[in-house]
C-alpha cells in the first residue's frame, strides 16, 4: 500500500496545487508535501483554527437548512400546494448532499485558496493550497480521485 507521502506527491503534481497535507480531525499533521516549505508551514498552522471554524459553520448551515425546511413545510401546509413543496424540498436536499457541501474553502487575500476535504472514514482531512481561485473547480474535481487513497494510505514513520 502506498504511503501518504507518495499519494501526496501525486496530489502535488496536479496543476495549480502548491501544497498538500493530510491532518487528523484533531489537527495533527500526518504528512505533507509542498513546492515551498514555508507555504506548508503557513498552511498547517491555519489547519486547527480552520477545522474548528468549519465545524462551527457547518453546524450553523445545517441548522439554517433544517430551519428553512421546517418553515417551508409550515408554509406549504398553510397553502396546501404539494407540488411546490416537493420541488423546494428537493432543492434543499440537493444542496446539503452536494459533493461540494462536504468541503470547506478558505480564500486568503495574500495567497491562494485552501481547500479542506473530509476523507472517507471521518478520521482524516485533506488540506490543499492552490495557486489561485481559478484553480478551485478543477482541483476539487481532481481531488475526488485521491480521497480513497488519502484516507487509507499508511502514515509515514518519523
Amino acid at each position: 500500500m502506498a504511503t501518504l507521502t507518495q499519494v501526496l506527491a501525486d496530489v502535488l503534481a496536479l496543476r495549480g496545487v502548491l501544497a498538500a497535507a493530510v491532518v487528523s480531525v484533531d489537527g495533527e499533521i500526518l504528512a505533507g508535501a509542498a513546492s515551498d516549505t514555508a507555504l506548508l508551514d503557513r498552511m498547517t498552522g491555519a489547519v486547527t483554527g480552520a477545522l474548528a471554524a468549519g465545524e462551527a459553520l457547518s453546524g450553523l448551515v445545517t441548522k439554517s437548512l433544517i430551519g428553512a425546511r421546517e418553515e417551508q413545510r409550515e408554509a406549504d401546509d398553510d397553502a396546501g400546494d404539494d407540488g411546490f413543496a416537493e420541488a423546494h424540498g428537493t432543492a434543499l436536499g440537493d444542496s446539503s448532499s452536494h459533493a461540494g457541501g462536504r468541503q470547506l474553502m478558505i480564500i486568503y487575500e495574500d495567497s491562494g485558496p485552501i481547500v479542506f476535504t473530509p476523507l472517507p472514514g471521518g478520521e482524516r482531512v485533506a488540506v490543499v493550497a492552490l495557486n489561485s481561485s481559478h484553480d478551485l473547480g478543477r482541483a476539487r474535481y481532481q481531488l475526488r480521485g485521491f480521497t480513497s487513497s488519502l484516507a487509507n494510505a499508511d502514515v509515514p514513520l518519523g
Binding site: A87, G100, G137, R138, Y141
Partner: protein, 130 residues
C-alpha cells in the same frame, strides 16, 4: 493534459468560431476550459480567467432562475440555455445535477453545429465524471 481538457479541446476544434469550451459545476465554479490563456497567451483571444469565472457564475444563476415555474411547466429541469448577442453567443447544457458544459462562440457560428457538439461533449463528459 487531463482527460477533461482532451474532450474540450476536441470539441473546440470541431466548432468553427468557438472561442472557449468549458465544463463547470452548478455551484458556480469553473472546472476546466479550453483553450487556456496560460498555455498559449500570445495566440489566445477569448475571455480571460476572471471574465470566464463571471460568465460561469451568471450561467449558474440562470439555471437556478429556470428551476422554478419554467421547469415545473416543462415537467423537467431546463437542460439547455442559449444566449445570442451581436458578437456571438453562449450555449450551456446541463450534463448532470452537478455539472454543465459551456460553449462560447463568435459571430457566425452555426447554432445547429454547436448544439450537436454540446450533445457530444455532454456524453463524453458524463462518462469522464463517473
Amino acid at each position: 493534459m487531463t482527460d477533461l481538457e482532451d474532450i474540450l479541446a476536441r470539441s473546440w476544434a470541431r466548432i468553427e468560431g468557438c472561442r472557449v469550451a468549458a465544463v463547470a459545476g452548478l455551484d458556480g465554479l469553473l472546472i476546466e476550459r479550453h483553450p487556456n490563456p496560460a498555455s498559449e497567451p500570445a495566440l489566445y483571444s477569448g475571455p480571460d480567467s476572471e471574465e470566464l469565472d463571471h460568465i460561469v457564475a451568471d450561467v449558474t444563476t440562470l439555471f437556478g432562475v429556470t428551476a422554478g415555474s419554467m421547469s415545473k411547466l416543462l415537467g423537467t429541469q431546463v437542460r439547455e440555455l442559449i444566449a445570442i448577442g451581436e458578437s456571438g453567443g453562449y450555449l450551456a447544457k446541463r450534463i448532470s445535477d452537478d455539472i454543465f458544459c459551456l460553449l462560447l462562440v463568435g459571430n457566425g457560428a452555426d447554432l445547429e453545429t454547436i448544439r450537436r457538439e454540446a450533445e457530444a461533449i455532454s456524453r463524453e463528459l458524463s462518462a469522464a465524471f463517473v
